[in-house]
Every structure is written in structure tokens, then in C-alpha cells.
Amino acid sequence: MRIGVFVCQCGTNIASTVDTERVAQEVKKLPDVVYTTTYMYTCSEPGQQEIQRAIEEHNLQGVVVAACSPRMHEPTFRRAVEKAGLNRYMFEMANIREHVSWVSNDREANTKKAIELVRMAVAKLRFNQPLFPSRVAINKRVMVIGGGVAGIQAALDCADAGLDVVLVERRTSIGGKMAQLDKTFPTIDCSSCILGPKMVDVAQKENITLHAYSEIESVSGYVGNFAVRVRKKATYVDWKACTGCGVCMEKCPSRKVPDEFNEGLSFTRAINIPFPQAIPKKATINRSYCIYFTKGKCGICAKVCPAKAIRYDMTDEVVTEEVGAIIVATGYDLFDPSAYGEYGAGQYRDVITGIQYERILSASGPFGGHIKRPSDGREPKDVVFIACVGSRDASVGRPYCSGVCCMYIAKQAILTKDHIPNSRSYVFYMDIRSPAKNYDEFVRRAQEEYGVQYIRGRVGKIYPRGDRLVVQGMDTLLGIQVEVEADLVVLATGIEASRGARELAEKLHISYDQYGFFMENHPKLRPVETNTAGIYLAGVCQGPKDIPASVAQGSAAAAKVLALFARDTIETSPQVASVTERACIACGKCIEVCPYGAIRWKELKGGVRKAEVITTVCQGCGLCNATCPPKAIQLQHATDNQILAEIEELCA
């Protein structure tokens, strides 16, 4: 084999701690290596042309580039060698940047390490074979998991482009957290006024199938052809018949059901429609409060329902949806402030969370849009907001910034002044994070126009004095303790990963970070892709962000799906397992361990059985290869010979 080696300097990223010239000289001495050179930026256009020129000039049959991580530029260079007529798999990369030049300043050791890594790449390359992809048809339906604003945006964009969309929502209505908000920053426009039409759109689009009150059971398949089993939980109401008239809810005798939509500030009924703008606007029975289910008799809703839609004998139903791509937009949950014993959340009724305050502010909320204290219904005069409750706090395992609290506190303080002009608001904060368009101006307005008192420092303790609460904090700018007597305290609880996010990630085979947020493929360049082809992310499930960013990501994910579906077939990677039939001893161990069911028996003449790989199903993990005793099944591009060559190059 005629091999060319290109050692990249990556400007000074590599060259400053690796003697790239020496690397090139040393590997020139290797057998089969006929050409070596160094280059300033090998990934640049001229850099790639240099490779192509060398392939032609020196009649190269294989190319090694020693540069950055193959996770970064392997596709780039593969395309480059392919343009010069080589098979793209006749190419190897040695990672001498992320694994060498950036992790040590010892130039001597780095250079030695780089030489060895190139030698290993050359050793592997000698065993490389040209590989050719195959193609499979794409099922051009898309599933969106999560019906918050990000999921709604993604679903609508896909549907507008003419795709069939399956939208799966865990709760009984779509809308997500945004539906619970009163107004949105920094424009103070009404949340349900801007979200409502989009929700209605979802209901009206014929090519959107909505599964509300449903959860993902399991996911199988691969990009282009997923099969998702969806559990439709029993609502005990036939939604096809239900007209959403609300008579059942009116007559239901079980009246002490904490209203989840109102964050427990009011009660709803055992049979209910979560909120007036709900989509779908259908009733659901809450089994644990329903008298029929807890006591065995009642049945009032069944009697009064004009549509005769009540079905007490309903059970969960599992449906299988076949789709070609999945957008995950499962949103988030809010931090439970009871971790802060010193704030007395749960202890004092007038210490509430930010989302509870949203409901109080909302005209459809528990107090009809009048600000009242949950304890005695009195209108508060002094309202204290505490920032970073469950954000930027390592002691409760949430060291990250939630990114939205500074803004929503400012908004809520402004709204408080709007509602109660003679009120005073105080904000305890550590830093104000308001970097987006018109955000900082908004916070300034809260202070300048609305007279909100911003006090820089955390709060140490909240305790009652009479029917008021004393907030004991610190003004670090003055260096003295501050006490504020408040009627209402709002804890700006931070964002945390949705409960159940980890389980879903495991079903989807996507990664999540230590806090449970899903991992994007690349934090900057592939922000809505996951590591699993055909699965995309939108909204807060990927990390804390506000509404504009969530909507943008929803559209971005939709664009990715449309790009994928723009073709009728997709290339499947040829890096799959392949069986040398004569060596197969038909022990069946590969079939037993394959996580994808991608290996099956093939009957030959005379009843002889051999293992056979279904190449479009195989995902290339290589578990079969490691398991096969006679190594008859080999994972292409990571064969035993290739790995052994790397080991031997280093150990011999």
C-alpha cells in the first residue's frame, strides 16, 4: 500500500507543543509510507487540495491525517480523499490535538506520542478495505415528544412542510409550562394570547396526530425507520365522544382535588379539563380522587354527560407509531424549594414559588388575576423576590444558572406594581443575567420606572413576625445585614431536568449530562442533533433557556428533520458487521447478544446454518465481533486485524 501522511500544525494549536516537522520525518521511515508533509491548516480548502494533489502525484492508496479529533473532521477529510478518487474508508486520523498538544506542554513527550499515534494509524490503515454504503428508504413521518412551546413549534413547522406529525404529550393538554405563565418578558405580552393560537393550530392541522396523556413505552429501529410504542393512559372518558362541555366537571362531587395547573393554589374536580384553553379540550378522571374509583359508587358524571362519554372500564392502550425521525422536546421541571429549610417553603403559606406567582397574576388563575396572599387572601403591600433558589447553588446539586429567573423576577415585580400601584417590591439577587435583546433595558425599567429595590445579596433566613414575614438578607454592597418585612415572598425557583428525562433518554439511546439534560452532538455546531442519528432536541430538555430560544430550537429541529426527509433514501454506514461464512461455526452467540436483532440464521444447502447480518439494521457496535469465538463475524473498519495492528505497533 502507498500511504501518505499529513501532519497538521493547526496554526499553533498543535505546532506549539508538538514538533510536527519531526513527526513527518520520523513516520517517513515507516514501511509503505511514501509521502509525508506538514501543513498549517490541513482542514482548510487549500489543505484539502494539498491532500488531493498528493494522492494523484504520489499515487497514494491510503491517507493518514494527524490533526484534531476524528469526531471533528473525519467526515471532512473522508470527502476530500473521495474527491481524489480514493474510497473514503482508506483514510485514518491520528488525534494529536485534543489527545496530545492540548493536554500536555512537554514538547518532547508530545512529539514522541504523536509519532506513535501516527504509526498506529498507519498500522491500522494497512488493513483498511474500501467499503461501500447501502441505502434504505425513509419513512417520512416525524414524532415530536413533548407538547410545550418548543414541541408545538417543531410540530407546526413540520406539518406546514407537509409532513405527517405525531405529537405525544404526557399531560392531558399541550401547552407546557408556557400555558401556565401570565405574561412574557420583555414585552409583557400575554402568554396564552400568543401560545393559544398555536395550540389551536395543532388541533386543526389534519396531518398532526395528537396523543395527549400518553407516554413513550419503548423505541426501536434507527434513523429513517423508528417504531415507537406509545402508552395512551386511560382517561376514563371517550375523547372521541367528549365535547368538552364541562358539565361533568361542574357536577362532580369530589371537590378537594389540588389543581395541578394552578400549582396547588386552588382545587379542581376529580373529573376535569385542566384549563379553559386546553387542547384537546377533553375531560379526564383523576382516579385517586374519583369517588367512583375510591368508594365504588357515585357515577354522577356518567349520568350527566350529554355525550355519554364516560368509560369507567377504560384501560391503558399501547399503540405503535412508525416514524423516520424523532424530535425530543420534553421541557423541564422546577426545583423543589423545600430543600431550603431556612426559607420555610411549605411551612409558611405566603412563601411561594415563581410559577405559583404566575398563576396568581394570571386572570385565569386561582384568584382571577388579583394578587392575594394564599394564607389570608389579603392584598400584599411588600413583596420580596429571592433569586437563585435552586440555581448556582452547589450545595443543592444545582451549580448551573437557570437563565430565566432574573428576567421573570423583573417581569413579576413590574406586574406587581401594575396590579397594586402602592406596593413595593424587593429583589435579592447575586448577579443580574440579562444578555438578550431588550432584556437588560427591561431590568433597568423595573428599577428606574417601577422603583423595584434591588438588593445585592442572598437571603439567609425567613421567619414570621405577626402575620408578616421577615426576610433577613445581606446587602453585600454596603456590607450590612438587611431585614425586609414582607407580606409575600416569591422564591425564583430554578429549572431542573424533567422528572423522567433519564428514563426517556435510555429508551431513545441518547445521552444526558449529570443533571439530566439531554446532550447535543456538539455544543456549538450541532446544537439540536443528538449522538443518535434521526433524533433531535428542542427546548429546555437540552438545557435551561427562555421562550424565544426554545421556539428557535423547535424550528431548528424541524429544519433538520426536513433536511433529512428531503431525500427518499439514506445511506447506511458500511461500518457494520460482516460474516465470513466458512469460519462461522453456527454457535449463535452473535444472535444471542446483538442488541438490535440485526443477525439472523441463514440456511445453506444440507441444512447447514450460518449467521447473517441484516446490514440496514446493524448499528455497528461490534458486540458480536467481541463475542464470536472463531472471529468469523468482523466489524468492518474496526476488525480484529485493525485493532491488533494498533496494539502490536505499540507493544511489539
Binding site: 429549610g341 431556612e342 433566613k461 421567619y463 414570621p464
Partner: protein, 307 residues
């Protein structure tokens, strides 16, 4: 000595119970007799070293406290119980130094006694909750403190800092609340459960203690409490012995009884108040005791049995 007790525990009284906190020691011994736990006082124990030795050098403090632990280990104990949270901190500090590989050798050289660091130190309250159990306390109650409102005051060190206390919630502890409920008292939520009383500043900075202890007393009074239950000799000293000083400082009359939790438990067990040292309290508890006599009816259940 014949051992009729269901279990035994090493007991470290601490200097303050020899003086100002004598009733804590007396009542502790009394109730553990009823609860069937034998207290084995560490023979010839010495002062834990307290803050002064710790500030002088933590290693000195560890050695001084270590002597008590070493004696208890020699007696074959794996757990030592102390009423005083200050002593508890010192004893735990000694074990912490022992567990620090950089300091262990120096500690053992200075201590110059066999010490294996396998012993654990707990407070009386922790022992009551975790080893004896609330249910067992409830079972021994003969005269429930019905109709009597008591607020629990935990002080700083009983549950804090969480890393070394390893007991209850640091901000909203409930162990004393649960004990008080078990003995029949009415227990309102007390917001100043763990707020500092002013500690040793009673001697040199009366203004500090006046402010801090003052607001604790006021909060208790505002909640309609008949008594404040405490579990720390220093807190008790500030809340009880200095109550008149604080009344003068705040210009408000308190006259609220501040007994130790063990004295209250003993009362509910039907033990003579005198044996429990109620007469030693500075703020006259007579009002409380009279109320108790009037309200409490003997529980018709079987008396605590000696198993």
C-alpha cells in the same frame, strides 16, 4: 453489678453539668433509668477542652477529648453519649483528627494512650431518637403533658453543620418536636429552632445576647408557649439564667420556663420534679408545674415495664 438494663451506653457528662447544668445530668439519668438504658459514666473523665483548647490548637483539643474516648473504648464501648452539644463537638473533632492520616500519628503521640478511633459520639437527643426511639418514649409516658404548649429550641450545634452532625435536618429539625408530641405537649412551629442564642457572649457582650436570646424568648411568648424545651447547657444558661438580664435589656417581662427536654420527658414519665432538678431552674417553673398538675390525667395504660 447485676445488669437488668436492656442496653448500656458510655456517658460523658461534661463540666457544665457539674455546675450550671446539673439538672440536665440529673434528669438524663432519671429518664434513662425508666427507659431501661444503663449509663456508664466514663470514669475519671476530664474536660473536653471546649473552644479555648480548640483555638489554641485543634490537635491539643483532640488529645484532651481523646483521653475520654480512649477510656470509653477501653471499657469496650462503641458509642459515647453526652448531654452537652459543645462537648459533642469536641469529641467528634477528636475522631475527625484521628481519621486525618496527616495528623493521626501526632495525636497518638501526644495522647500517649491506646486509641483506635472506632467510637462514635452522639448527643442525648440523637440517642433518644435513634437508639431508644420515639415510640419507646411514648410507651413510657404516664402523665401526658396535655394542654401545655412547648416550643423546641435546638440551638446551633445539635444538628449542624450537617456534615459532622449526621443527624436530623440542619434547618428544619424535627426530633425535639417529635419527642414533645410523643409526651403529649402541643408543639407549634418555631421559626427560631436553630437561631443562635448568643453563646458565650453572655459574659462579655450582654448586648448581643440580649438581642439574640431576646428575640427567641419573644417569639416563644408570641406563640403562646408555656415553656421552651432546650438541649444545650449554654442555651439554657442564656435563656433561663440570664432571662432577667434580658428582660431589663428588652424592657419586656418574659417569665417563661426553660427546662431541658429530659426534664420534660421525666415529668411525663411521672418522676418527681425535684429528682429531675426542676427546682434548680432560674425562671420559676412553678406556674408550669401547677398547670401540669391540673391538666394532666394519668394515662390509663399499663405502666412502663422493666424488661
Amino acid at each position: 453489678m447485676k445488669d437488668n438494663f436492656s442496653r448500656t451506653v458510655a456517658y460523658y457528662p461534661g463540666c457544665s453539668v457539674e455546675g450550671t447544668a446539673k439538672e440536665f445530668d440529673e434528669s438524663t439519668r432519671e429518664i434513662f433509668r425508666v427507659l431501661n438504658v444503663a449509663l456508664r459514666e466514663i470514669p475519671d473523665w476530664n474536660c473536653c477542652g471546649s473552644t479555648p483548647s480548640h483555638i489554641y490548637d485543634p490537635l491539643l483539643s483532640a488529645a484532651i477529648s481523646g483521653r475520654n474516648l480512649a477510656i470509653a473504648e477501653r471499657m469496650g464501648f462503641y458509642e459515647v453519649m453526652t448531654p452537652c452539644p459543645g462537648c459533642l463537638k469536641a469529641l467528634k473533632g477528636s475522631i475527625e483528627v484521628f481519621n486525618n492520616p496527616l495528623k493521626r500519628k501526632d495525636l497518638l503521640n501526644i495522647l500517649d494512650m491506646p486509641f483506635y478511633g472506632r467510637i462514635k459520639a452522639v448527643s442525648v437527643v440523637q440517642f433518644l431518637v435513634e437508639d431508644v426511639g420515639i415510640e419507646e418514649i411514648e410507651r413510657c409516658v404516664l402523665f401526658p403533658l396535655e394542654g401545655i404548649t412547648i416550643v423546641p429550641y435546638y440551638g446551633c450545634l445539635l444538628t449542624r453543620p450537617p456534615k459532622s452532625a449526621q443527624f436530623d435536618d440542619p434547618e428544619q429539625p424535627t426530633s425535639l418536636d417529635r419527642i414533645l408530641e410523643a409526651i403529649g405537649a402541643t408543639v407549634p412551629h418555631f421559626p427560631f429552632k436553630t437561631e443562635c442564642c448568643g453563646a458565650t457572649y453572655g459574659v462579655v457582650r450582654k448586648d448581643i445576647v440580649g438581642r439574640l436570646t431576646g428575640r427567641i424568648l419573644e417569639m416563644a411568648l408570641d406563640l403562646g408557649a408555656d415553656a421552651i424545651a432546650v438541649a444545650c447547657p449554654l442555651c439554657q444558661q442564656n435563656l433561663d439564667l440570664r432571662q432577667e438580664q434580658i428582660e431589663r435589656y428588652r424592657g419586656r417581662s418574659f417569665k417563661i420556663s426553660v427546662p431541658y427536654i429530659t426534664q420534660l420527658i421525666g415529668l411525663s414519665f411521672g418522676i418527681d420534679p425535684k429528682k429531675l432538678g426542676w427546682h434548680r431552674l432560674a425562671a420559676d417553673p412553678q406556674k408550669l408545674l401547677t398547670r401540669f398538675d391540673k391538666l394532666s390525667k394519668k394515662r390509663p395504660t399499663e405502666p412502663p415495664t422493666i424488661r
